[in-house]
């Protein structure tokens, strides 16, 4: 027993107190972590209130989680009418169903599934969320909360993919017009903040539409966000394209593949494999950027905090709301980064599409 304590002390000395500077830093860190930790535990758990009907139950120095529990429906579904909420899970489940073919082995040309989704998803969303024959109409202004964040993220990511890939290929094209236009597109949209694009789509675009034609704000925003994301995606894919050895192009040329088939069968599979982790990274950034729609007056998971906290029963509950939204965003983004890591590992386990390493010189 004595020996154990001694070796533990030795270990501490060696690891944390080996130099005076290190010792000071260790003490400082321990103090800081404990102080913040205690304060947070006190606030979030010990002094917290979990049940109640209004802000009167709030305790000094403690969180009022009752607010979150009472308003959970709004955080999840926004101001969607209560009786109609069942339509949201149905929409999401249907959208997830369309993903099944990706995981069935033996189905080839999975790109076609993606192209099909680009048509099917808007139909699902339009019929079930907005309403159609047999379903009550719900304005897209009432969509909100996590649902809106989900819809903006997945549709934005879906549409940005084909455009991003085309722009990346276009940037490497030999035709000056295509190349110039691609460069202009990518650099322009990467150089301006997303807010200005959202402003354009909400304020300026209506001026460009023919008289009487109106496009729903939601659609304009999704188009704007896809354009923004596709510029970033194009840069990532271009990075992948540049790292494909020249021999791959030459071999494909020698085998008589035309540009389209060559890109589809030989180049892009390798590029996507190389860029998995970067694509994951910009997708996470994109999900974080969907919060910007609150500035043009849409109530996504973050945007809904302030209308909920201005309810007269729950005035001043912004801290709880923001922290709750932050935790949800953290979980989503962290999960995706783990997922990306797993996918990257799995992709690299597959047999090499082209045995680059085994080619004799």
């Amino acid at each position: 027993m004595k020996l154990k304590i001694k070796s533990a002390i030795d270990f501490l000395k060696k690891e944390f107190f080996n130099t005076p500077v290190n010792a000071v830093l260790t003490v400082l860190m321990v103090w800081l972590v404990f102080k913040l930790g205690f304060w947070f535990i006190n606030w979030a758990f010990i002094n917290a209130v979990w049940t109640g009907e209004s802000r009167d139950v709030a305790q000094a120095g403690g969180a009022t989680w009752a607010f979150i529990i009472k308003k959970l429906r709004f955080f999840m579904f926004g101001f969607y009418p209560r009786e109609q909420i069942w339509r949201i899970p149905v929409t999401i489940i249907l959208m997830i169903f369309t993903m099944i073919p990706y995981f069935i082995k033996g189905i080839r040309h999975k790109v076609l599934i993606m192209l099909a989704q680009m048509v099917i998803w808007p139909l699902i969303i339009m019929y079930f969320l907005s309403g159609g024959p047999g379903l009550e109409k719900v304005s897209s202004n009432d969509w909100g909360g996590l649902t809106l964040t989900f819809i903006l993220s997945v549709t934005g990511l879906l549409y940005s993919f084909p455009v991003g890939i085309l722009m990346a290929l276009g940037r490497r094209s030999e035709l000056p017009v295509i190349k110039g236009l691609s460069i202009a597109y990518i650099e322009f949209f990467r150089g301006i903040p997303l807010i200005t694009i959202l402003f354009m789509s909400s304020v300026v675009v209506p001026f460009f539409l023919p008289n009487g034609a109106a496009v729903d704000k939601m659609v304009r925003v999704i188009i704007g966000m896809s354009i923004f994301q596709s510029a970033y995606l194009a840069e990532v894919i271009r990075g992948g394209l540049q790292s494909i050895p020249k021999g791959q192009y030459e071999a494909a040329d020698a085998l008589g593949f035309k540009f389209g088939l060559q890109s589809y069968l030989i180049i892009l599979p390798q590029v996507l494999k190389l860029t998995v982790s970067n694509i994951g990274g910009i997708s996470i950034s994109f999900i974080k950027d969907t919060t910007l729609v609150l500035i043009i007056g849409m109530f996504d998971l973050l945007g809904i905090v302030s209308p909920l906290a201005s309810d007269t029963d729950w005035l001043g509950m912004e801290p709880e709301g923001l922290i709750f939204a932050g935790i949800l965003y953290w979980i989503i983004c962290f999960a995706i980064s783990r997922l990306t890591y797993k996918v990257e590992k799995k992709v690299n386990e597959l047999p090499e599409t082209a045995e680059m390493t085994g080619v004799p010189e």
């Binding site: 690891e15 260790t26 807010i195 200005t196």
Partner: protein, 388 residues
């Protein structure tokens, strides 16, 4: 002209025709729409009176000034937030990046927790959090301002400091300051060159002198008249106020961006060949000098391009200040001015072109800095140059 060439020509003409067609279509729609709604066209509105107030202005501004001036005010506020943000985020990013490399597990794990916790949360949430949760709750109310003498007041409306009114000799004074700054930088550069030649001279007293000259001149010549903040019943009648919106934008963006910069710093320090560190150790450099003289100069080369990207992100993200009503370019010009004038297309084009130019200038400066580092002779030997 062979078959491929003519085909390529046709494709390109087709694309140009398509784009021109779209332009014409949108252009006609636009003209039709604005004539119907009675909105003018062109930038003539820039000379009209703005008639709204702005909460924080770096240069003098009244409601009688023009819309053109609101553009300048917004731009200056954007640049101010970006500038402070970049300096803070670089410092924080370096500290956290070095902490992650510390051999002390406690420190490196704390740094890892900081990075993982902050970077998975949207930047807009950071901004709102600092504004609504921290600054509005922590800062004292106006009546109970925290005071430092008569000079500095801190309250929920921001930090108020004395304002400085330039006198006649202010111009020559700023020239003097400029010359002294150049001199200090020049001496540092000279010193490095001398060291390379093996000459070790003590030059810091000279530099100190050049720092002291402007201070002394300010004391003696009084180029600026200091006006202390005066409290009337509800507001300060004089003095310069930095709003809490500025702090929340700057603090939020610099902590958020520092998580990315710390990762860049960490990976580029790790990418310096291990032999460099071992060589420095065996030459007897103390640990801090090792980092300062051997490792960081080499790591900088791989660091600059990705760090530039982060700076650009930070600059673009200052537009998030709009959510807390920080009067930056987007908020003042693309927000209020656009609403007042209705000239959506003109205003938005100007804003986008301005952001593009800021991005372009920043990346040009960073490229120039990067080249300056790489081209320095006699200091760095790349791995390939070392004879085996």
């Amino acid at each position: 002209m062979n078959k491929t060439q003519s085909r390529n020509l046709m494709i390109q003409t087709g694309i140009i025709a398509l784009i021109l067609g779209l332009f014409l279509f949108f252009g006609f729609n636009y003209i039709e729409n604005i004539t119907k709604r009675n909105i003018g066209i062109g930038f003539g509105f820039m000379n009209d009176t703005a008639g709204f107030s702005i909460s924080q202005t770096l240069i003098s501004y009244t409601e009688a000034d023009t819309f053109g001036r609101t553009f300048v005010i917004g731009l200056l506020n954007t640049l101010l937030a970006s500038f402070i943000g970049i300096i803070l985020t670089t410092a924080l990013g370096f500290i956290v990046g070095l902490m992650r490399l510390s051999s002390n597990k406690l420190i490196s794990i704390t740094a890892l927790a900081y990075v993982e916790a902050l970077r998975n949360i949207p930047p807009l949430l950071h901004v709102l959090f600092w504004y609504q949760v921290v600054f509005l709750n922590v800062l004292p109310p106006f009546k109970e301002s925290f005071k430092v003498g008569e000079w500095l007041y801190i309250n929920v409306r921001g930090i108020t400091i004395p304002s400085f009114i330039p006198q006649e000799n202010a111009h020559s004074y700023s020239l003097l300051v400029f010359i002294c700054i150049i001199a200090v930088i020049y001496i540092s550069v000279m010193k490095k060159k001398l060291v390379l030649r093996g000459v070790h001279k003590r030059l810091w007293p000279l530099q100190l002198a050049f720092v002291l000259i402007p201070v002394a001149a300010a004391w003696l010549l009084k180029p600026y008249d200091m006006v202390l903040p005066q409290i009337t019943k509800f507001k300060f009648s004089s003095g310069m106020t930095m709003r809490p919106e500025l702090f929340s934008v700057v603090v939020a963006l610099s902590t958020y961006t520092s998580t990315y910069i710390s990762e860049i710093v960490r990976s580029s320090i790790l990418s310096v060949p291990k032999g460099q560190l071992e060589a420095a150790k065996s030459l007897g450099f103390p640990s801090w000098r090792r980092l300062q003289l051997i490792i960081i100069p080499q790591a900088l080369r791989t660091m600059i391009p990705p760090v530039t990207n982060q700076y650009l992100n930070l600059i673009k993200n200052t537009s998030l200040g709009m959510a807390v009503a920080y009067p930056d370019l987007t908020s003042v010009f693309a927000g209020t001015t656009l609403n007042q004038t209705g000239r959506a297309l003109e205003v938005m084009s100007l804003v986008m072109i301005t952001y593009l130019s800021i991005s372009l200038v920043t990346s040009m400066l960073m490229n120039w800095y990067n080249k300056a580092i790489i081209n320095r002779k006699g200091e760095m030997i790349s791995k390939e140059d070392i004879p085996l």
